[in-house]
Amino acid sequence: MTTSALSRKTPGSNPASKPARQGVHKKPFNWRRAGAWTLVVVAIIVTVAPFLWMLRTALSSNASLASNASNLLPADFSLGAFKRVLGLQTPEEAIAEGGSGAAINFWLYLRNSIIFASVTTAGQVFFSAMAAYAFSRLRWPGRNVVFGLFLATMMVPPIFTALPNFLMIKNLGLLNTFAGLALPFLFMTPFAIFFLRQFFLSMSREVEEAAMLDGAKHLRIFFQIVLPNAAAPLATLALLTFIGQWNEYFWPLLVGQDESVRVLTVGLGVFKSQSPQGAPDWSGLMAATLIAALPVLLLFIAFGKRVVNSIGFSGIK
């Protein structure tokens, strides 16, 4: 946590990265400032504490949770919940620790989530980049009309297209297949095209024009010049798309109920309702949610700055 006491004369001067460090005035103790920092600390605690509670519960033995409900440390520390979720515990052990004993195919759901999220991300980003190139670099009749149409679909709520899309996937016999899961996300979203088009428009065209004079064709320019030059926005978009797809719940709930293609979000919903002896397996559930959230958390730790600044990016421009 960097506590930089800054003069507030430089708001917005450096929007993209760290706040500027110049202009540090030594000030006497300031109650207003102390109050503000207290609020910041409260906000951080409110944000982080539930995640710690998730970890604490996952490291507890489920049978002991009830009698240690308010103990801040794990109740009867055990890695059993994680073992249970990952299928490393026998049913007897699981029941002894307060689990349900029923097997959950966590590894399978994890695999399905990885396939679903990475295939849709790759397709969406690549095809959207191609479309964005056509909208920003090529001249053709009807370009702006088509672009306007694409943009207009951003207004259509997902539930509205979900019902007809479900019917179509069903008619095609693609229910409970990866194709059915991925198809609606695979080709484009208006947002992705818009996002990349803005970047392509702001990129310098000098190199491209020189290449064009040398006789390079559009395909070559796209692959060898535009894509490498847009690596940063492409990575940001891919990251945002992947996180969104990883968290997607509604569509997989509709078309991916079957075990073989069930993704983690849907699996977790099922896991919750799967408590035969009445008392839910809270530590198992928290261990499962923790592992399910882990890939996103790791991506965020690695590339968090990119995500944080990409949200700023929108509003500033």
Partner: protein, 318 residues
């Protein structure tokens, strides 16, 4: 997640236009321009657009005028679905529940996010703090819902333990009719406050610093500066944030589906839950389509009214 940067289009779209005419390319003279190569580049996106956005939109509107139980073909029944909906008590209940949810969710979320944004802008300027506050937004709705379902458990949830410790009666957060919607609204305030704060924060950064300098030279107090400078200049961004968050809020589903499933009784059956149950519980796709057309119209109206009344597309800066 995809709602993330939906926000910028009216702002960004305009400012980019001048660049377009700058570099007239050699092929400009021909009427068809780069049509052939453009078709190649746009083909995949076009397939996706037509198959999964355009046709479903048209088909959804068509289905709303039919009776369709998935078995057999849809039969045209004119506006019967719509007249039935207006007489449907469960529909009005769902609308009331949804509006209550949106009111609570957006009210608290916007105020808290504005506060956080000001703190991010003035006090806690590190990217790390912004990242931490964004964390809940990156975790799936389902996970957030399950986490709070556990923490708010009546018997052994930590929140009720704390309430109990203060000597107050335990609260059945998800299990009682009067608490279900406020609880779900609260959970989603927790998930979205950091994200919303970042959107507002970006708006704060776009206010030029010289405006503040003039104000401070004139001896304006902090409060005065906030109400006479920050708020008016922030308004366009704030309106966009409201439009995006209100539209998202109307479509709440995941949290409800995982925790209460719409209950107890009808207390948390929000509109999207009702559509889902009609379509997949009762196989009444015609009725469900009509409901989603109504939701669509409501969202369009809400966006329009917000832009119009709050004058979201005009900045006081110019």
């Amino acid at each position: 997640m995809t709602t993330i940067t939906k926000l910028p289009d009216p702002v960004a779209g305009g400012s980019k236009h001048p660049q377009r005419g700058k570099n007239p390319r050699p092929g400009r003279g021909r009427r068809l321009g780069d049509l052939r190569i453009a078709l190649l580049f746009i083909l995949p996106a076009m397939v996706g657009f037509v198959a999964f956005f355009l046709i479903p939109t048209i088909r959804g509107i068509y289905l709303s005028f039919t009776e369709y139980s998935v078995l057999g073909d849809p039969t045209w029944i004119g506006t019967k679905n719509y007249t039935a909906i207006f007489a449907d008590e469960l529909f009005w209940n769902a609308m009331a529940v949804t509006v209550q949810y949106v009111g609570l969710n957006i009210g608290f979320q916007t105020v808290i996010a504005l506060g956080l944004a000001l703190l991010m802008h003035r006090v806690a300027k590190s990217t790390l703090i912004r990242g931490v506050l964004l964390l809940p937004f990156l975790v799936a709705n389902v996970i957030v819902a399950l986490l709070w379902f556990w923490m708010l458990d009546y018997q052994i949830g930590i929140v009720n333990e704390i309430i109990n410790w203060f000597g107050l009666p335990r609260i059945a957060f998800f299990g009682s009719e009067q608490w279900a919607i406020p609880t779900i609204a609260g959970v989603n305030v927790w998930r979205h406050m950091g994200y919303t704060a970042l959107l507002i924060f970006a708006g704060l950064q776009s206010i030029p610093s010289h405006v503040y300098e003039v104000a401070s030279l004139d001896g304006a107090s902090q409060t005065r500066t906030f109400w006479s400078i920050t708020m008016p200049l922030l308004r366009p961004v704030l309106v966009l944030v409201l439009v995006v968050t209100v539209i998202g809020s109307f479509q709440v589903f995941d949290t409800v589906a995982v925790t209460t499933g719409g209950g107890p009784i009808n207390a948390s059956r929000v509109i999207q839950m009702y559509i889902y149950q009609k379509a997949f519980g009762e196989s009444d796709f015609g009725y469900a389509s009509a409901l989603s057309v109504i939701l669509f119209v409501i969202l369009a109206l809400v966006a329009f009214i917000q832009m119009k009344f709050l004058k979201g597309n005009e900045s006081d800066l110019d």
